[in-house]
């Protein structure tokens, strides 16, 4: 039995559809209720819904053998897991955004508001830029508007939220998509089962 952690929400539902189409369905998962764990013994899978940012923790700690996590989470927390496949869904990008009239002054420390402190730190370290990280947990977009920060580093999907708040994306740091990840130790003892799931999913991944 493979334990599979899926991210709760729209992305998770999309990803579950890929698993189901690959032959690892679990019909009870679609019933409207508040259950979090679903099992299909015949297919050898047990799914559970967890907060998207927690998937990597479940997998790294072995509570789940495999899971689906966004590349943003993998870059931010650098969990010790295998990254077996790019599922090419949940496409977005990690970007720097600022107010439309923002002019960068390299003589000053750049104030960066973000949920993704490690990604932001790594990006600006690569540019040799001195920054002040302001760690926020949500509504990042209002930080530059209220003068809390000069720029934000956040996920941009369509850019609509930015636009509505009069912000513009300035630089793309890295493209993001959902990845199939596996616990390293689980992979050693369930490699064939995990590879069977991966192979099945391969047929469901849409080309770029």
């Amino acid at each position: 039995m493979l334990n599979i952690a899926l991210p709760k929400g729209r992305l998770g539902e999309k990803v579950y559809a890929m698993f189901a189409a690959a032959g690892f369905e679990c019909p009870s998962i679609l019933e409207p209720n508040r259950k979090l764990i679903f099992e299909n013994e015949a297919a050898g899978v047990r799914y559970f819904w967890v907060k998207p940012s927690d998937v990597a923790i479940y997998v790294e700690r072995g509570a789940a053998d495999i899971g689906v996590a966004g590349k943003d989470i993998l870059l931010e927390y650098a969990p010790e897991v295998y990254e077996l496949m790019d599922l090419n869904v949940g496409l977005c990008r990690m970007a720097v955004a600022a107010k439309r009239d923002f002019r960068d002054n390299p003589a000053r420390t750049l104030r960066v508001a973000t949920k993704f402190a490690n990604i932001a730190r790594g990006y600006y370290a690569g540019l040799g830029r001195d920054i002040d990280i302001i760690h926020l947990n949500g509504s990042i977009e209002i930080a530059p508007i209220l003068g809390l920060s000069d720029v934000i580093v956040d996920i941009v999907e369509t850019g609509k939220t930015l636009l509505e708040n009069d912000l513009v994306p300035m630089e793309t740091i890295v493209p993001i998509s959902a990845r199939l990840i596996a616990n390293k130790a689980s992979y050693k003892f369930h490699a064939d089962e995990i590879e069977a799931v991966a192979q099945g999913l391969k047929g469901q991944v849409k080309a770029d």
Partner: protein
């Protein structure tokens, strides 16, 4: 309860000591502290960043050991042709991966330093497999060869930054990542390397097309030879997997990692580190491994439903001589006894006895 005095990690430690001594390894005991400079010079060799430091009475900056291997190398002197076989069991202090806080970790391992030949290499890897077998029946020892990995990556002619990212992808089994990093290059060999896993004979053959000559062929041949010897001597659980990508500034040749079913992370890690020896000014070769004993707590199995077998309750006025005799009588009959005047609220016990009028009453 009375028949399980040893915790799994204590039982394993005891068994491993016996195993290593049987093969002529002697224990290396060292101080808890080391000059910080040793770690500063070899920072990348350490598994985690962060060392606990303090200033000694003479002003020297000291560290609580985050690693054992560096201290062993520093303290061993080899004459040409000599070989030193050492094992250790020491506490180290480093940042734990998941909690990002310092932890005291009991680490056991062995090092074979000096004129290391093919026999020594096979002996150490076989001891790694036997160590895993001592810990748990279902285990896997993954073997990789840094020579194969570096030859295939070098063949792409990448800049240092991209090379590092490709190596990280190999470590993550991330074939899609390699394709995206090098879109216009022929990365079929690297992707074959990532996909290769399983028994050595099968894996080695699958990689032959990309390792037909030069350093890649020599490395693959060495891996095949070692795996062949291990197989012939009945060393089970060994397979090949190239996702072990240790730092190439320190490690060369064969590297390996061990897993136990039921423990979610690797419990054993090791390999040949001739390059570290060179960096520390020694012409000797070396191979060794470490076992992270703290992870074995996960093997504790089923917990007893009781804290103690028998509680023997006694009053203030009880005759101490008779009470002592009564406790001795119970322990001699094989029961674990906790004599006390009052039962703590959360104590779980199998039976309750009362000490009254100089004797044991069962109707408590």
């Amino acid at each position: 309860m009375a028949d399980t005095p040893l915790k799994p990690e204590e039982r394993v430690l005891f068994a491993l000591r016996g195993l290593y001594q049987k093969y002529g390894y002697s224990q290396f005991k060292m101080s808890k502290f080391e000059e910080y400079d040793l770690y500063a010079r070899n920072k990348d060799f350490l598994i985690s960043d962060g060392v606990i430091t303090f200033t000694d009475t003479d002003g020297r900056l000291m560290a609580l050991k985050p690693d054992v291997t560096l201290s062993i190398i520093k303290n061993t002197r080899n004459a040409p042709g000599d070989i030193q076989k050492l094992y250790y069991s020491e506490n180290v202090y480093r940042v734990s991966g998941s909690t990002r806080q310092f932890k005291e970790i009991l680490q056991t391992g062995l090092e074979c330093i000096g004129d290391v030949d093919l026999y020594n290499l096979c002996e150490v890897i076989s001891l790694a497999a036997q160590s895993l077998n001592t810990i748990g029946e279902r285990y896997v020892l993954d073997l990789s060869h840094m020579g194969v990995v570096s030859a295939l990556v070098d063949a792409l002619g990448l800049d240092a930054d991209t090379r590092g990212q490709v190596l990280r992808c190999i470590g993550e089994k991330n074939a899609d990542g390699v394709r995206k990093l090098c879109p216009d290059m022929d990365t079929e060999g690297i992707r074959a390397l990532i996909a290769a896993r399983g028994p050595a004979a099968k894996v080695v053959e699958s990689l032959r097309p990309w390792c037909a000559e030069g350093a890649a062929k020599a490395a693959l041949d060495e891996l095949a030879q070692v795996a062949g010897i291990l197989d012939a001597i009945g060393c089970g659980g060994v397979q090949v997997d190239f996702s072990i990508v240790n730092d190439m500034n320190y490690y060369n040749g064969i590297v390996f990692m061990g897993y136990i079913d039921g423990i979610p992370a690797s419990v054993l890690s090791g390999g040949q580190y001739d390059k570290l020896m060179q960096r520390m000014g020694s012409p000797a070769r070396a191979v060794g491994f470490a076992i992270y004993m703290d992870l074995l707590e996960r093997l504790s199995g089923e917990q007893s439903p009781y804290d103690v077998d028998t509680v023997l309750l006694y009053d203030d006025g009880a005759d101490v001589m008779s009470l002592t005799r009564a406790v001795r009588f119970l322990t001699d009959s094989g029961t674990a006894v906790c004599a006390m005047k009052r039962i703590p609220e959360k104590l779980r016990y199998r039976q309750l006895l009362r000490f009254e009028d100089g004797g044991i009453r069962t109707n408590a």
